[in-house]
Symmetry: C2
Subunit: 235 residues, 2 copies
């Protein structure tokens, strides 16, 4: 572990609590506009478009578009489906940016700040560059740099993302550790020689979450919080 | 100016004093190895390869390579020219990384930290991603994100760099300001609708500097230090 130079963080779910943040913002929007909608179902349906949307790009069915565009297309479908009518283009654009304003989990800011004292700390996310920069300003996340799908024009788990971050940072794969709440992401990181830290986030998808409730492989580190990762690495 | 969301910084020369930092590191290296060389001339000759090296990429004479590779090729030539022999590959690689360890000008860290409270602050550099991340850690530069040639695989002043940063940040050109010590860089930023701040660095190239001694156009802001830019913008 002494050779690690950078800690990469999956962001949605691992660093920020996207579901609670989006349900809250949509509810506030609904209250302002006097629109009655089950915003929890709306949020879950929005997120359900995430992997299928990226898979159409990953499979080559459509050329590169970033996650903001995929979120926006799904939003348009859901506004129709949930009968939310008469929004202006600017209101829809602002609504799509709820993904830019996500609250960190309680341990994220302090944990990353501690790790930053010894390591390069970076996002490693399927989010857009603009989303991640604005999210960091919003939540006070002290990243050294933003690495994301936009930079390599590929989504995780495409190899270009894992190989890309290693090349951009000018390091060897074993000098990098990925911290993530998702076993699939860690599995792909490990294939490419990157070290792995599983951060347990059993309520990312709400109280009835069924996936990623526990580590599914023998990851290098398994912890419940980012602060505990800092402890384990002696920061 | 109220609509500005991000301040981009040219880095070599504008934020860090590369010449003094490199002469110092090369002199220390020379003392350790007991090699007598005029390290000021060596440094100036190294930097003299910068624009011609990038121009061969920009003109399409050779495919994309980043600045670390251009610096390394020039270093190999100069080691021969200055009769510095018998270095191992690892010593040469470390020597090339003097460009990663550059000291900020005295006003840079505090000025950028003040601007960061209101704006997104980012590098906008022909340096490599790895160089800029490591330089930030070395000098304590509090960037929100690293934007550089590696990301768009184009060097300034190619339009792809100015248009690229605007697209990555998801903003309009007039919502971005470039702070730079070089008139050519500001000129190209202005062509693309980006706002301009000239930072006066009359000793970047040493005591006998002949270029960029003054603003050559009517830039939006002209200041001697980054702290004064923060003053002008009310930070």
């Amino acid at each position: 572990m002494d050779s690690i130079k950078a800690i990469l963080f999956d962001t949605f779910g691992t660093v920020v609590d996207w579901r609670t943040s989006i349900v809250r913002q949509l509810s506030e929007f609904g209250n302002r506009k006097e629109i009655q909608v089950d915003w929890e179902s709306f949020t879950d349906a929005w997120r359900a478009g995430y992997h299928p949307g990226m898979d159409r790009v990953r499979s080559g069915q459509r050329p590169w578009v970033n996650i903001d565009i995929i979120h926006r297309e799904r939003l348009n479908e859901l506004l129709a489906q949930f009968s939310v009518a008469a929004l202006t283009e600017s209101e829809k654009e602002d609504l799509n940016k709820v993904w830019y304003r996500l609250n960190p989990w309680p341990d994220s800011v302090q944990g990353i700040a501690r790790l930053k004292q010894r390591y390069i700390v970076s996002t490693f996310s399927n989010g857009s560059f603009a989303c991640l920069v604005n999210m960091a300003k919003y939540g006070g996340l002290p990243w050294d740099c933003i690495f994301c799908a936009d930079i390599v024009r590929h989504f995780k788990p495409d190899p270009e993302t894992y190989l890309g971050v290693v090349e951009f940072l000018g390091v060897k794969p074993q000098e990098v550790m990925l911290a993530a709440a998702h076993n699939y992401d860690l599995r792909h990181a490990q294939i490419h020689g990157i070290r792995t830290a599983y951060i347990n986030r059993p309520t990312e998808f709400g109280p009835n979450q069924t996936t990623d409730l526990k580590p599914e492989c023998d990851w290098d580190i398994v912890v419940d919080h980012i602060s505990l990762l800092a402890d384990k690495l002696g920061c």
